[in-house]
Symmetry: none
Subunit: 369 residues, 2 copies
DNA sequence: ACAAAACGTGAATCAAAAC
DNA sequence: GGTTTTGATTCACGTTTTG
């Protein structure tokens, strides 16, 4: 299933555009990219207390013009797109300096944006001069390889992570400081290290255990650390041998995934084994000829047929089909049809019977073991 | 000082590209633009409660391709740039559908981005299908006509509006609903009416009383209403005579300058720290698979899942939910579940970890000051 | 009259498995 | 791979209706 020559769980040294070209096509499930931001700082910045701000002035962040930056962007995005599976998705993080260039190029190349997400920093650097708004966020673009392909989004994992409400496109997370910040001789090892919490959410949302996650601008390896922790496989590409070495060291020292296999998989009702409506008859939860009501109150009453179809007003078909004929739009028959409980004479959705049957089958499964 | 033939406080009917060309060059202090977003909706969308979502399907939002949209964008941005004073600035609002196109074109034309700002919606439309993140924000780009020119930024006004702290680039404001939403025969008059609070902040930040504020996509005139209220002069351009008429009517009926602006000051509920259990995982204080014990002595042991839920005895749910299943009455999972301390092997309530994380976030907050 | 519950709605690129 | 069938999925507010 995997390409045989995929260099799993390794840091590859070199320019990502070159290295990507040597990887097999359509082999990667997820890409997270934190490219140079092209910051274009013009002068030193001093705080009001007369200390110097240690800004990003690395050589790797210098580009001559928008055109240069665009060419660079198109090159690495194309290379990424080639190695991505059809079902794969790509995340890019950036700020206003570069994200509009990146977003537009990415659309031009055929990527299809699924969301943009804003990382709201709980503790941003203030604007020392008071001449603009405090730059308190960065933007992440999440895109699929091509419009309409299926992709991974672990909706229920995101809900669980957000106290049982849908995860929104605004993520409030602190910047990477304190013990998490990698240091060498007391100096920060990399100027733009991202917090692990950010990668945790990205990987949990858009990949599954065992998936291959690639980071073309690996830096000091945050993506690798989190991938390992979440039981994903990873590939890092990094041009600077010093960063690559630091990343290897850091990942080796980071916590390995636990041994319990179940904990990493996200619950997904769409992947549960399907029970045809007829199974309720086969298992004696309904009888041929039983009435089903369309809603809790309504007088509309259909009859269950022996083969698991419904009959209403001369029509015959599945619970979904008959429901659709009674109501516009997409219909889930399991929730729309009600049976009458024998004891209480109350109407209950047939979805309840399905749940009972699922529990029944599950417990008999476990009894076999 | 003003160009003599500036049509002040008027709604000009026509395509903004044409109309702008008839205005004098370098005569405008501030532009706020809310262009079509180029949404590309494919089919009907139904809510889970079987009602139909009334999406944006207006003719003015239809473009054939990215190339068409880019040409349109370049045309109106160029026309705007011509009428802008050297000291002038431009705001554009958009979503991921269009904002990367707009941002890149704007940079190409020589505008210099000062900030981008995210409007975080306190009450966004949810994602009914559960297939993406809730689209909970829109993006505003704030740019000056050319790099290095002086521009207006009312730092102290922004501070005052934000409880004496620097105004950040994330603005949490409700969408336009209720009495503020303009209606005709009970139907919303315009599909994309913006809240006045948003314009209030924009105009207060980047213009001065008496300045001329232009809006090339005037719609139902929110920019005019707020400009009038803040004692700025305004020019609106609107293609649709129906919207133009509504705008004139609305502005005439709106409060004149001098009324108390208290209603526009917005409270920011985000500041109240909310820590979901999953944050302990995101911040590396717990790992997927870790055991949690129900009480200090008990043998009941649940497993932490990667998504921040607990698994016990086949059930899966939040720390509170699983606790409730083990104990009658209301349960505070934070105090009932215990982890085992790595060093001492002693059990400690997970509330301790929450406290640690709170302290951590707090100290990094204070470090900023 | 008042409180509680029900209802309506917003810039939305909104399905996926089985056959 | 295109077509058919099954069936998963929502949050914060403001307004209206019900009790």
């Amino acid at each position: 299933m995997d390409a045989p020559d995929l260099p799993i769980n390794q840091v590859l040294e070199g320019d990502c555009i070159d290295v990507l070209q040597r990887l097999p096509a359509e082999s990667i499930d997820l890409i997270f990219a934190d490219p140079p931001y092209n910051l274009q700082l013009r002068r030193e910045l001093w705080r009001p207390n007369l200390t110097l701000v240690d800004g990003v002035d690395d050589a790797w962040d210098q580009f001559g013009s928008f055109a240069d930056y665009d060419a660079f962007t198109t090159a690495w995005l194309s290379a990424c797109r080639r190695v991505l599976k059809r079902s794969g998705t790509l995340w890019v993080i950036g700020s206003y300096h570069n994200i509009y260039r990146v977003g537009a190029r990415l659309q031009d190349l055929g990527f299809w944006i699924l969301n943009d997400v804003v990382w709201i920093k709980s503790n941003p650097t203030p604007n020392f001069r008071g001449v603009r708004f405090t730059n308190a966020h960065e933007t992440l673009v999440w895109a699929q390889k091509e419009r309409g392909a299926t992709y991974t989004f672990n909706h229920h994992a995101m809900r669980a992570l957000n106290e049982d409400k849908q995860m929104r496109s605004d993520w409030m997370l602190p910047i990477c400081t304190g013990r998490e910040r990698l240091r060498v001789n007391g100096q920060k090892a990399h100027t733009t290290q991202k917090p692990e919490a950010l990668l945790y959410r990205v990987l949990l949302a858009s990949s599954n255990p065992g998936d291959v996650v690639l980071d073309p601008f690996f830096g000091t390896g945050t993506t690798g650390v989190v991938a390992r922790r979440l039981n994903r496989r990873w590939i890092g590409i990094e041009r600077d041998p010093k960063y690559a070495a630091l990343a290897r060291e850091r990942i080796a020292a980071s916590p390995p995934p636990g041994s319990a296999p179940g904990v990493y998989a996200s619950h997904n009702p769409r992947r549960e084994t399907r029970l045809p409506f007829g199974a309720l008859l086969e298992n004696n939860l309904l009888q041929p000829g039983d009435p089903l009501y369309f809603g809790e109150q309504s007088a509309i009453c259909a009859r269950v047929q022996a083969d698991g179809s419904l009959e209403y007003n001369g029509q015959r078909g599945s619970i979904h089909k008959i429901a659709r004929s009674l109501h516009p739009g997409p219909c889930n028959g399991w929730q729309l049809w009600f049976y009458e409980d024998a004891g209480s004479r109350e109407r209950r959705p047939i979805d309840l019977l399905r749940q009972q049957l699922r529990d029944l089958l599950k417990s008999s499964d476990e009894g076999e073991k």
